[in-house]
């Protein structure tokens, strides 16, 4: 990749703090990632691994109990962490947009589609109602909604799930953002509609040259859609790099286990391996590597010290002691900061 990244996360941490301040959950822990314009980054992990919190952190719409405790988020040369609420509001929906998991619940049942699609245009660009509605109609056309003119005046309950999800997509691209974050946008859709929707997202990305962050637990979608991949486990990015390289030679045991758990088409003999054990309780994390209790290649040292991010190739890192360069000591190469 050439040029400066569009978004660059640097040791970003978001913690949930209980009301008494006694329990701390490190939902996002020292995450370092970057994405360039036009690129697609997939973020995978089990539920509760911090994927969604990471997305909400980038947009700074965290629940009240969550706090960004450290790190930087450089977006087009500005640090989003230090922006005021009001400044941040002008970023949301305008320069960075997000599509939520549940299309059925994402639309307000009491307002028309036209109202909800034109809303960001009116708020961010100060367009008149009529102009915003005209653009909303174009947007509905762009997400391939038939007869957009009549749909504008309808309410969400008059539409199917696939159609509502496209409308949510239309809201996402309404102000032509530079970055679109899609948080498991297809989990509640059936397979054919999923495929259509993914294609739609891909087309939109090409048409507008936007960067796409794709949050999912479906590695099949990652293989199809993404250029870059970050694997999250217990709030950490345990491995990241180009998709093809990671799929061919996973460096982290967790990534390997994840890849082994996808069914392969046309190979009925291949046994699927599930990952034993449960993700850890994030408020009482053991010392050492958080994956150690479930890891098949665990070593004594894994339970004592936490592996730092090791560089394992061009633009690739892995947080595993196995990835430690053999020489060790002074020549230990630790990736970090703005690498």
């Amino acid at each position: 990749m050439t040029g400066a990244p569009l978004l660059e996360l640097d040791k970003l941490s978001t913690h949930y703090v209980s009301a008494q301040g006694s329990r701390v959950v490190r939902a996002v822990d020292e995450v370092t990632l970057s994405i360039h314009a036009g690129e697609t980054l997939g973020i995978v992990g089990e539920s509760g691994s911090g994927k969604s919190t990471l997305a909400l952190t980038i947009l700074r719409v965290l629940p009240p109990a969550a706090r960004i405790v450290s790190g930087r988020m450089m977006f087009e040369g500005e640090d989003l962490v230090t922006k005021s609420d009001e400044e941040m509001r002008h970023v949301r929906g305008k320069r960075i947009a997000m599509i939520l998991q549940d299309p059925m619940a994402s639309l307000n049942p009491l307002f028309t589609i036209g109202d909800q699609v034109s809303e960001p245009i009116r708020v961010h660009e100060g367009e008149s109602r009529a102009k915003a509605w005209t653009r909303a109609r174009e947007l509905l056309k762009a997400v391939r909604i038939p007869s957009p003119e009549t749909r504008l005046t309808q309410y969400p309950h008059e539409m199917s799930g696939g159609m509502r999800q496209r409308i949510v997509g239309a809201i996402g691209i309404a102000c032509e953002p530079r970055l679109l974050i899609a948080d498991e946008p297809t989990t509640s859709l059936d397979l054919t509609i999923q495929a259509q929707y993914l294609k739609l997202l891909g087309d939109l990305q090409k048409a507008h040259g936007l960067a796409l962050i794709f949050i999912t637990h479906n590695l099949g979608i990652v293989a199809k859609m993404c250029d870059q991949l970050a694997v999250m486990y217990a709030g950490r990015v345990v491995e990241s790099g180009p998709v093809s390289q990671i799929f061919n030679r996973p460096a982290h045991p967790y990534t390997r286990a994840l890849l082994n758990s996808i069914p392969v088409m046309g190979d009925p003999d291949k046994r699927l391996t599930a990952i034993d054990g449960q993700p850890p309780d994030m408020s009482t994390m053991p010392p050492g590597c958080s994956f150690a209790p479930r890891c098949t290649s665990v070593m004594p040292r894994c339970r004592e010290a936490e592996p730092p991010p090791f560089v394992v190739g061009e633009g690739r890192i892995s947080r595993c002691w196995l990835a430690e360069p053999a020489t060790g000591g002074a020549e230990l190469r630790v990736a970090g900061g703005v690498a």
Binding site: G93, D102, P109
Partner: protein
């Protein structure tokens, strides 16, 4: 749907039956109901006439039949004091009671809804705590006390408002406030919990993600959705207000049904007391039925339940 309405209506009929049975039972539990139903100091002939009229010398079930039959005809008995049928008196006073209830309801919503919204936006902070205090006071201050304090301040010391009677809008202010006070607290609580539920929804999250200003999220997206259950409760509470206003109407001498009940007490006019209780219970049973059916029409999930 039809089945639901039939089942729900038969429950209400059963309730009305039990209601009449309850009243019937209590009137006879202390002995001869004739002593309650005639004027104090009535002649033996009057008592005999009452016995005749309600069949008090016949078996109990015949008496009950006569009682229910007269209810069906809208006959709640004759007031001793006014010498007119209780049902007529009731209808005479109903408009005043409804007027008071509507104004009190409007006041309670004007206070309760904004307070509930403030509390929900500020969970655990100043306005939420203030709201909790308000709820506690709403539950703990009896309405006659609120009424008396209002009179003390606004009639006695400031002399701004008339302390009793009816006729001008000024007469309505204090009774409406005293009556609405308790309900304001309960509307506040419901608004708060309803708002919190809506604020946690996905479409509010999407509204945030769109970059809408907080004021617009609250006022446009959350408010409208949160209002539905509050307005439903308000609908039921108007009827409840008509029936609990006796203390407030007494304090302010407001000529409604509550005042009628008070007159029934002070003039030892038992048919009035009995009539007001029957009408009150019956109204509430019927309003509950109507609300349940309306809800079933709006929300298909209720129909499928049980």
């Amino acid at each position: 749907m039809k089945q639901y309405i039939i089942r729900r209506s038969s429950y209400s009929l059963l309730s009305l039956f039990l209601l009449s049975l309850t009243i019937f039972f209590f009137v006879r539990v202390t002995g001869d109901p004739a002593t309650l139903l005639v004027e104090p100091g009535a002649s033996a002939a009057d008592i005999a006439a009452i016995h005749q009229r309600f069949g008090l010398d016949k078996p109990l079930w015949t008496q009950y039949g006569l009682f229910v039959w007269s209810l069906f005809q809208g006959d709640l008995g004759q007031s001793f004091y006014y010498q007119t049928p209780v049902f007529e008196l009731y209808l005479d006073r109903l408009p005043n009671s409804l007027l008071l209830a509507f104004v009190a309801m409007s006041l309670s919503l004007l206070i309760g809804i904004p307070a509930g919204i403030m509390a929900s936006v500020q969970v655990g902070r100043f306005w939420d705590g203030f709201g909790k205090l308000f709820t506690l006071l709403g539950q703990s201050l009896p309405s006659f006390l609120v009424g008396l304090v209002l009179i003390l301040v606004f009639s006695v010391y400031l002399g701004w408002l008339p302390s009793s009677g009816a006729g001008t809008p000024l007469h309505l202010i204090m009774p409406a406030f005293a009556l609405g006070w308790y309900f304001a607290a309960s509307h506040m609580r419901l608004t708060r919990s309803s708002m919190l539920e809506v604020l946690g929804s996905e479409y509010i999250k999407l509204a945030r993600l769109k970059g809408l200003p907080q004021s617009m999220i609250i006022a446009k997206h959350a408010f409208k959705n949160a209002l539905i259950p509050v307005l439903t409760l308000a609908g039921i509470n108007v009827v409840v207000m008509v029936n609990v206003a006796v203390v407030v109407e007494t304090v302010f001498a407001w000529p409604g049904i509550g005042r009628l009940l008070y007159e029934g007490i002070t003039f030892r006019d038992f048919p009035i007391v009995q009539g007001v209780v029957i009408m009150g219970g019956g109204m509430i049973v019927i309003v509950n039925l109507v609300i349940d059916i309306l809800y079933a029409i709006i929300d298909p999930r209720i129909r499928l339940e049980s």
